[in-house]
Symmetry: C2
Subunit: 192 residues, 2 copies
DNA sequence: CGTATTTCTTAACTTAAGTGAACGAGGTAT
DNA sequence: ATACCTCGTTCACTTAAGTTAAGAAATACG
C-alpha cells in the first residue's frame, strides 16, 4: 500500500529512504468504511486526501437534493477548496466504497516542506498539472451534451460506471437519474 | 500599468525594488489589438498571460462551430493547459478588445525563479488558489441550469455581459445564441 | 428468511434547449 | 448611397431533459 503512494510521488520527485521514512512516520494512512462522511457542509477542515484504494465522492445538497460533482479514485489527490480558502465547506465528502486513504493536514505539510524543500516543488508541479487537467475537463463538459459526456466517461473512466450508483453518476453528468436511464436506452437503441 | 502587475503580485509576496526592476527588465508588456489571435489550434506555445487591461477569450472550433469556454479580464492570470502539458493546443486564444497583457514564457520564469525563489512560492500559492477557484466554478456550472448560470454571471461578472458578444456568451453558458435570447426574454417576463 | 429501503427503469406529460429560417439594426466596404 | 455582413432577436418546429408517479430489482437489515 505504501508503494502506491511512493509510486505517485516518484512521478514528480525522487525520494531518499530518509525522506520516505519521514513520510511514513507521519501516520497518514486511514481505512475508511463505505458510506463514511469525511467532511460535512459548514465544517472547517485542513485535510487533504490521496486515494490509495477505493473511491470518494464530493457532493452538495441543493434544495434537498444531492448534486455530485466529483469522484476521486486510485492515485487521485484532492485538496478541498475550503482548505485552500480557509472557509467552511459548502459540500460533503463521503466514501463510495471501503477505501484506504492518506489524510494530511497543513501542519504536516509545513513540517515536511521545511525538512525537504523537494516537496514544495512537487506541490507546485502537481497543482499546475491538476489545474491544467481540470481546465480541460471543464472545457469538455461545457462543449458537450449529456449524451456525449456519458460516452466520454465510458471511454475515460469505464470503472466509474460500474462502481458508482447511477443516480450519483447522473448528477455528475449534470442530469437527473431518469434522464440517464433514458439516455442509456437511447444509446443501446442506436447501436442495434 | 506596471502597478497593476505589482499590485497583483503583492497579494502573494512582497517585492524589493531590485526584484521589481528584474521583472521590468524582461520586457513583458504587450499591446494587442481587438481580434488578434494569440494562439491557434495545433500550435505549440510556452506563453503565459496576465491581463492588465482588456479581455481575452478561449475557444474551440468543434464541427465548424466556435465554442467559447473562458474569458480572462483585468487582473486574471492564465497559463494554457497545452503549455503545462507540452502538447499542441486544441483551442484558440484571441482578443475580445484592445488589450494590454504581459506575456511570459518558461525561460523567463526559470530565470526569475532561480534569481528570486520567492516567485516559486508565489506560483505555488497562485496555482493552488486558481485550482480551488476553478473547482468551485466547475461545481457551480454542473449544479445549475443555463438560466441559473446566466443569473449567476449577472451577479459575479456583470461587465462581461456588456463587453462580450452574445453568441460568445451563449456558448460560455453552454447553450446556443437563440436560447440565450429566449432565456433573457423569459427573465424579463418574470420580473414584470 | 422476510421485510424494508434504496436503486433503477419505464411511462406520460411538461418545460426548455436545439434547429432552421427569417427579419431588422448597425456597421463596413465599395 | 448602396450593397454586404455580422449580430441579435423572433418564430415554428423538433428533440431532449425535467417532473411526477408507479413498479421492478437489488440491497440492507433485523
Amino acid at each position: 500500500m505504501k508503494n502506491i503512494l511512493f509510486d505517485f510521488i516518484a512521478k514528480y520527485v525522487s525520494l531518499t529512504d530518509d525522506e520516505k521514512n519521514a513520510i511514513l512516520s507521519l501516520d497518514l494512512f486511514r481505512s475508511v468504511k463505505k458510506g463514511t462522511t469525511l467532511l460535512e457542509e459548514g465544517q472547517k477542515s485542513e485535510d487533504s486526501y490521496f486515494v490509495l484504494k477505493g473511491c470518494i465522492r464530493i457532493y452538495y445538497i441543493i434544495d434537498g437534493e444531492e448534486k455530485t460533482t466529483a469522484f476521486y479514485t486510485e492515485m487521485d489527490a484532492f485538496t478541498p477548496p475550503c482548505v485552500i480558502n480557509k472557509v467552511p465547506s459548502e459540500y460533503f465528502i463521503s466514501c463510495v466504497e471501503d477505501s484506504i486513504l492518506t489524510v494530511s493536514n497543513s501542519d504536516m505539510e509545513v513540517e515536511i516542506n521545511s525538512k525537504f524543500p523537494k516537496f514544495d516543488i512537487m506541490c507546485r508541479i502537481l497543482s499546475q498539472e491538476l489545474l491544467a487537467k481540470q481546465q480541460i475537463d471543464f472545457d469538455e463538459f461545457k462543449t458537450s451534451s449529456p449524451e456525449q459526456r456519458y460516452l466520454n466517461l465510458l471511454q475515460k473512466r469505464p470503472d466509474l460506471i460500474q462502481r458508482v450508483p447511477q443516480h450519483q453518476l447522473a448528477s455528475y453528468l449534470g442530469i437527473k437519474p431518469q434522464s440517464l436511464s433514458r439516455l442509456r436506452a437511447r444509446i443501446l437503441e442506436k447501436k442495434s
